[in-house]
């Protein structure tokens, strides 16, 4: 989801810094490519003022929660898939994970958000939410495995957070969730996330604690004068002439 104000802010940044390429990504982001390194702190300062945070394109963390239109505007939508996607993103952005995490929420089994090949993919149905995990659509192609079906959005978020926290605590660096799942098995994960409510709550509490520290826009600290100087060339010798 976006708004005219956000699009205007992006367009203004593109014009102001003469950015050569603007692309729409598969993860429903807008990519600005070809920015000069010395312009980066200023670009992010402007984007930050418009409410954007950094990380969705490159983080070893949550990338994006792709969503379909959902019950707001689609005749087949069973739940508010866009709303759920936004709430998950707002809660989980900025968390550090062993490898990138891509999620999606589809409002019905037609699966317009392609949730069935994501690290965490939620399919909404009339009676609730089907949580799938361990999908892949990169060098490997793999369908999600069914973690659980829950009745409420709150439970869907709880399971998603608990699953990601378990992944953060156990997986080897650079293993996407599907690789980690192949090593530990879905049953092992289910026992700790679905079947043990106390453990699930503890996982969520630890994720919460971590976010209190780490949910921070990395560029917010770098929009300073000193940081901007560091991104510029150290010296320019092109005008120098030998004596």
């Amino acid at each position: 989801m976006t708004s005219s104000a956000e699009l205007r802010a992006i367009a203004d940044v593109v014009d102001k810094f003469d950015i050569p390429a603007v692309k729409v990504t598969g993860g429903q982001r807008i990519d600005m490519l070809g920015i000069r390194k010395q312009d980066l702190p200023a670009v992010w300062a402007d984007l930050g003022k418009a409410g954007f945070v950094s990380g969705q394109a490159y983080a070893k963390g949550l990338r994006t929660v792709k969503t379909c239109v959902g019950s707001d505007w689609c005749r087949f939508g069973t739940q508010d898939s866009t709303g759920l996607g936004i709430r998950i993103e707002k809660f989980m952005w900025g968390s550090w994970t062993p490898a990138k995490v891509k999620m999606a929420v589809s409002g019905c089994p037609r699966n317009c958000a392609e949730a069935t090949c994501k690290d965490v993919g939620i399919i909404c149905v009339d009676s609730g939410y089907e949580i799938g995990v361990g999908g892949a659509a990169g060098m490997d192609l793999k369908e999600v495995e069914r973690l659980a079906k829950v009745a409420t959005e709150g439970e869907a978020i709880d399971l998603t957070v608990a699953f990601v926290q378990l992944y953060r605590e156990h997986a080897r660096y650079l293993d996407r969730p599907y690789r980690w799942l192949a090593k530990v098995g879905l049953d092992w994960v289910r026992a700790r996330v679905v079947e043990d409510p106390e453990n699930r709550a503890a996982l969520i509490a630890r994720f919460d604690l971590s976010q209190g520290v780490y949910q921070r826009d990395p560029w917010a600290d770098r929009a300073t004068r000193q940081a901007q100087a560091d991104f510029a060339p150290l010296a320019d010798l092109t005008k120098e002439v030998a004596e």
């Binding site: 560091d230 150290l234 010296a235 320019d236 010798l237 092109t238 120098e240 002439v241 030998a242």
Partner: protein, 110 residues
């Protein structure tokens, strides 16, 4: 050699690099963990990637594009890889970085 003062050592983050613009293109100036300084063309011999944005480790740098590892002292690709990057004499004196200006400035004899 004619030495040119191009900045303070502390202007370069440790295990990092800053760039010096010259008529021949950019030169990457690296500062290693032990505060030694090396200057190389900012162009990986593989596909021209910006070595100044690579990961510095020991006295090597790994190109951020495809992972080629270049020795900072001799500009040569390490291991089984082939490739060479031009290097420029560099030293530190009194906290300032000095580069040999011979090949960096217009009009100097090579």
């Amino acid at each position: 050699m004619s030495w040119l003062d191009i900045g303070a050592l502390d202007n370069i983050p440790r295990r990092g690099a800053r760039v010096v613009k010259t008529v021949h293109g950019c030169v990457a100036v690296f500062r290693t963990h032990d505060d030694r300084v090396f200057a190389l063309d900012d162009r990986c011999p593989h596909k021209g990637g910006p070595l100044s944005e690579g990961i510095v480790h020991g006295h090597d740098v790994t190109c951020p594009l495809h992972g080629m590892v270049i020795g900072l002292a001799d500009g040569l690709a390490t291991g089984a890889d082939k490739g060479a990057v031009a290097t420029y004499a560099a030293r530190v004196e009194g906290g300032r970085i000095l580069l040999d200006a011979a090949r960096l400035i217009r009009g100097t004899a090579a």
